[in-house]
Symmetry: D2
Amino acid sequence: MVVVMKEQATPAEIENVIQRAESMGAQTQPIYGDNHTVIALVGDLTQVQRNTFDAMAGVQKTVRIQDPYKLASRTTHPEGTVIDVGGVRFGGDQVVVMAGPCSVESRDQIIETAIAVKEAGASVLRGGAFKPRTSPYSFQGLGEEGLKYLAEAREITGLPVISEVMTIEAIDLVAEYVDILQIGARNMQNYGLLQAVGKTNRPVMLKRGISGEIQELLMCAEYILSNGNMQVMLCERGIRTYETATRNTFDLNAIPVLKRASHLPVVADPAHGTGDWELVSPMSLAAVAAGADALILEVHPDPEAAMSDGDQSLKPARFADLMCSLHKVAEAVGRSIANPADPQDSTAAESRESLFANEIEQEAVPV
Amino acid sequence: MVVVMKEQATPAEIENVIQRAESMGAQTQPIYGDNHTVIALVGDLTQVQRNTFDAMAGVQKTVRIQDPYKLASRTTHPEGTVIDVGGVRFGGDQVVVMAGPCSVESRDQIIETAIAVKEAGASVLRGGAFKPRTSPYSFQGLGEEGLKYLAEAREITGLPVISEVMTIEAIDLVAEYVDILQIGARNMQNYGLLQAVGKTNRPVMLKRGISGEIQELLMCAEYILSNGNMQVMLCERGIRTYETATRNTFDLNAIPVLKRASHLPVVADPAHGTGDWELVSPMSLAAVAAGADALILEVHPDPEAAMSDGDQSLKPARFADLMCSLHKVAEAVGRSIANPADPQDSTAAESRESLFANEIEQEAVPV
Amino acid sequence: MVVVMKEQATPAEIENVIQRAESMGAQTQPIYGDNHTVIALVGDLTQVQRNTFDAMAGVQKTVRIQDPYKLASRTTHPEGTVIDVGGVRFGGDQVVVMAGPCSVESRDQIIETAIAVKEAGASVLRGGAFKPRTSPYSFQGLGEEGLKYLAEAREITGLPVISEVMTIEAIDLVAEYVDILQIGARNMQNYGLLQAVGKTNRPVMLKRGISGEIQELLMCAEYILSNGNMQVMLCERGIRTYETATRNTFDLNAIPVLKRASHLPVVADPAHGTGDWELVSPMSLAAVAAGADALILEVHPDPEAAMSDGDQSLKPARFADLMCSLHKVAEAVGRSIANPADPQDSTAAESRESLFANEIEQEAVPV
Amino acid sequence: MVVVMKEQATPAEIENVIQRAESMGAQTQPIYGDNHTVIALVGDLTQVQRNTFDAMAGVQKTVRIQDPYKLASRTTHPEGTVIDVGGVRFGGDQVVVMAGPCSVESRDQIIETAIAVKEAGASVLRGGAFKPRTSPYSFQGLGEEGLKYLAEAREITGLPVISEVMTIEAIDLVAEYVDILQIGARNMQNYGLLQAVGKTNRPVMLKRGISGEIQELLMCAEYILSNGNMQVMLCERGIRTYETATRNTFDLNAIPVLKRASHLPVVADPAHGTGDWELVSPMSLAAVAAGADALILEVHPDPEAAMSDGDQSLKPARFADLMCSLHKVAEAVGRSIANPADPQDSTAAESRESLFANEIEQEAVPV
C-alpha cells in the first residue's frame, strides 16, 4: 500500500503515519518528492487498514497495490479451473451452452423446453423456481413444485440443471434438486448467502450485480471460495449505465478482464445483459469470440405467454439457428461447443448426493 | 399502459395485441398515427403483464402510465407519514439527527460516543453490530455483544437506537435490542428480508442501493408496506456513477423527488454518500436545505482508530459545530432540529415490546 | 407524441393541453383511464414542442413515439448504405480494417507503420495530426506536417487515409490530405463542426461521445446528413460508466442496436473502447462477431515510445496475428475481411478533388 | 508518479522501467514489496509520460501523485479568486444570482424578464442567443439579434449579461455584447474554443460536461488559464448517470469538492442540473447551503410558451419567492445575496471595451 501525503503535510503528520503503519506490523519506506511525500508500506500488511490512513491528518489518499482477493486470483492459481458437472466441463476447451425458460411455469412447459434445447445442442437446462421480482405483486415462481419439474426434466433429458437460490434457508431444498446453484445479481453482495453456499460442495454460478465492479465480483467469489467451495463460475449479465437503448449494458469487456484476473470459468448471459431478444444472437456470438467459457440463454416455446422475461427469450427454432452459428464462431477461435449427447463423464447424480462433503476439507483452504 | 407498434406493424399484429390485452381483462383504444399505431390499455390492468407485449411481433415498446407502487405513493396518501420512535418524530416539522460510530467496537467507545452526540444535540444513536464488508477478511462487527452495548448506551442516554439487520434469522435478535431496523444498501432488493421486516412492527430505515433507481427504492418500500409495516423511512446514501472524486455520488436530488412521490420520511446519509469527512458538513447543510426529514451521521471519538469508515467520520467537536450550523439552516427553511432533551412522548420501550403485533392488522392493508 | 396527465389533473388543465396541441397543428385523442388521462397527438407534429407540455400545469410527463431522426433511420432507408472510399467499401459484405498509430509522430514512423499494416491486411491507414488532449501541456500533434506525412504514406502504400478534424477552420486543410474525416468523441455534439463537415462531400466517421446515448449519436449524424453529406459512418469507442477495470466500457451492444436503427455503416474502436492493448484482440473478434462493418485499431512499431496511447497500441506482429483470427471470425459470421491488395475500384483520388461538390445536391435532401 | 510492476515482473523489466524513467529526467526509487515491486518517480517529471509505462512489459499500472492542473489549483493559489463583473463580485462573501430565460426569444420577452428578475433581486441577466440543440430541426437561437436585445436589456436594468459562445468565430461578436462568456457543457472539451476564450480578457463561466469528471473540468479551466485569462468560474450543471427520475443528476458534491481543490468561483445551475422546475427551488437552497458562490436560474414570463427549456423555468413570482428563501439560507451559512441595486463598483462598460488586453500580460503566467 502507498500513502500519499498532502503537499502541506507537516513532518509531524508524516511521522504519525509512519508510526501508525509500523504499529500495525508494516515496514515503511518514505519517498520525499518535490511536492508530495509518499509512504510505501511493505512486509506484512495483514493487520493494516486502509481507512485508518484516509482518516489521518495530512493524508491525501491511499493507493492499494495488491489485489484484495487471493483464492480467486490467477496469480495464485495460474491454471484455469475446470468445473465438471455431470460430465459437462466448464472452463475447458469446450464452450458450454445452458438454456431454458426464465421461470419454470408448468411441468409441460419445462419438459417441452428441455427436450427442445437438448435437441438444438444445449448441455445444461436452466429454469427459475424462486424468482426475485421488482414488484411484490408479480409472479414469484413455483417454488419447490418448480424444482420437482426441473428434476423430472433432467431425468428425461439427462441434462444437468441450474436454478437460483435466494435465501440461506432454501439452500438445502434447492440443492436437493439442482446441479448448479445460481446466485442472482441482486444477491451478489448478500454475504451470508455467499458464505452458506461456500459451505456446500455444489458448483455455484455467481452473477455480477447490476452495479458490481469486476473487483467486487471477485471479492464476492472470494466469500464462497474462502468457505471451502472451489467450484465457482462468474457470470457477466449486464451493468447499469446511463444508456437506455438496451435494458442494461452487457459488459463484454468483463470476459477477457475476468479471464486475465482469475482462474474461474466465465459465463455470459446476453438475455439479461441486453434485455432484448433481437440482440441475444449477435451478443452470444460476440461473447464466444471474446472468450466466454459458457453461455446462459433464455428459450421459451411461447415467449409472448411467458410469465417473466418473454421479451428477452428466444423461440426454440431461433435458438437452434443460433447454435449453428455458435459452432462456427467457437471453431474460429479454436474451441468447440460442448455436446450433450456425449458427456465425457456422468457423475451428476453422485455429486448431488453429498451436499456438505466439503465442510471437512475446508480446513485445508490456503487463505 | 400504452403499446407502441413498429412503423411496419401489420394489421394482424395490431389485432393480436388488442386481443391479447382484452384476454387479460383490459379495454383497448387504438390510435392510428401517420407512422405508428399506438394502443392504449385502460380499465382493469391487474392481470396485464408488460413483458408479454414486448415479446410480441410488431411491438416497438411499451410505456407504463401508472406508478408501479401504491402504498408508498403520495397520490394514495397525500399527507406525509410521521413515524414516532420513543417520542422522536420522523417526517414532521422537526429534522431528526441520528449519530454514532459506523461500528460498535467496544462498550466504552459506544457509550462515550452516545454521550457526546446527545450533548451535541443528536436524538437517535446509530451503531453497527453486524457489518456487511466487501472483503471476507475484514472485521464483521461484534454481533450480539455490540447490540448489548447499544442497549446499554440507550439506557444511559435515553436515545433510541438504530442498527442494521442483514439476515432474516437475525431480525428477532436485532429487534430485541434496537428501536429502528436498518436495511443496508446491499440488501435493498433482498426481497425475503424486506418481507420479513414487513411482518414486524418495528420502524424500518431502508437505504437506497448503490445503483438503485428512485422508483426501485419505492418498490422495495412497497415490499415492506404490503406486508403490513407502515413505518418505513427512505434513506439516500449515494449512488455509483462515473465520478471518482467522491466515493459515491450523494444524490441530493433524491430528497425532493422522494418527498414529491411518496409520503414516507426521507433520511440523508452524507457520510456514506460522499465517503469523505470533509464533505459531510456542507452536504449535511445542503440536505436539510433540500428538505430531508432526518440525517444519519458518523461520529467517532478517534476516527483514525476506527475499525471501519474512519475516513468519513466526524470527531465529536466537529459534529457539535455542525449541529450549530444545522440549527440555523433548519430555521432558514422553516423547520427546527429535534431536541433529545425534550422528547414529545416516550413510548420507545413499549414499541419495542410487541414485535409482531402488526401481523394481525396486516389483513387490512389496502393493496 | 403522448401527453400523460397527473392523476389530480383538472378538466381545465386537460382542456388546456388539448387546445395548445391543436394550436400547434396536431390532432388530439384523449383517453380517459381509471386514474390518468392520456392525450395522444397525431397528424402533423412538425410544429409541436415537447417541452411546452412538460411545462404545463397538470402534466406528468410526455412520451415520444417517433424517432427524432429521419435521414439516419433505417425505417426511411431500409437498405444498408455502402460508402466507397477509393475502392474500399464500408457497409457491404466485407469488414474493413483501419490501422495505424494514434498520432503521426514522424515521417519514418507513419511510413513504416503504413507498410506494416498494409502487409498484415489493413485497408485504410489511420493517424492523428491534430490531437485533442486532456492537458494543455501535452503533445498536441504535428498539424499540417503530420497530414503531409500521411499523404506520403498513402502514395507509397495506396491505402486511403483517415484523420481527425477538430475545428471548422481546419476542415479544408485536413480534407486536402485525407480521405475520411474523423469527428472525435469530444466533438460529437459540436454542432457547428457537424454542419460544416455536412457541407463537404468527404466521407465522415462520427465517434460516439464518451457519454453519448445511441439516440444522440444518431441525432448528431442527422446534423451531417441534413446538410447534404450522406457518407457518414458511426463509430462505437467506449462509454463512461462506473467500472474502472477498463478505461472506458466498450459498448458492443451498440453495434447491433445501431445496425437495427440505422442504415449507416458501423465501426468499432476497441483500442479507445477498452484503453488496454491486451483486450484489443478479444474485443476486435467480438466486434466482428456482433456485426461491425469495420474496425479501427492502433498499431505502433514501438508502443513504449509512442507520444500518445501507447498503452492501447498493438505491435505490428501482434496485429498480424489478430488479422489471421479476424479472417476466421468474419468467415464464421458469413463475411470476409476487405483486402487492400484488391480494391474493387479506385476513385480515392477523384473523390478528394471536389470537396464541396455536394453543396449543389443539398437541396434535394428529403428532410 | 508511481509505477506498479506485475507480480511476475522480471528484473529486466524492472530495470527497463527505471532506465526509461531516468532517460526522461526523473529520479527513481524502487521499493521491493513481498509481492510487487513499485517504482517511485521523483524530481523533474515534466518530460515523463504516463502512457509510456502503461505500455511497457511487466507494468501493472501507474498511479499519479500530483494533480495534473496547476493554475486552477488551490495549492498554488490558496486565496479564493474574486471576479468582478461590473461591480458584481463572484467568489466573495456574497452569493450572486444570475437569472433570465433559456433563450432570448424576442425584445419584449428579454426586457420584461430582465426587469422582473432585477426586481426580485438577481444581479446578472442570462439569456441564450446561440443555442446548441440536440436536433438539427429545433430552434437554434436568434443569433446577433438576440445579443442586441440582451444589450438593450442591460441598458435598461443595469444588469451585466451572460450568454453562451459556441464557436471560435463567434467570440468577437458575443464579447461585443455580453459581460461573461459562457462555455456550454457540450463544449467543455472543445480545446480550440477554450484556448480562444483564454486569449480574451472577458470573464468566462465554464460548465462541466454532462460526463465530465471534476478533474477534467479543472484541466479544461487550465486550458483557459494557461492562455492568460484568469477570470474563470466553474459551473456544476448535472451529470449523466443511470438515474432517470431527474433529467440529469445534479451533483451538488462537486461544489465543496471544487472549492477545496480550486480557488476559482463555483456556480450552480439547478435548472439544467435537474431538468424539472419543481426541483429548482429546493436544489437552489441546497446549493447555497453547500457553498456555491453563485446560482444561474431560468426564469420565463410564460414557461409554457418558451421556445426551449420551459419545463425547467420558473415563473417570475415563484422566482421572487425563491429569492426570499435564498436570503435566509445564505444568512444561515454566514453569507448574503448580492444586491443589484447596490453594485460595489461599476466597471462593466470598461471591462467590455478591451477584449484582448490580456494578450500582453499573458507572458507573465507562471505555468
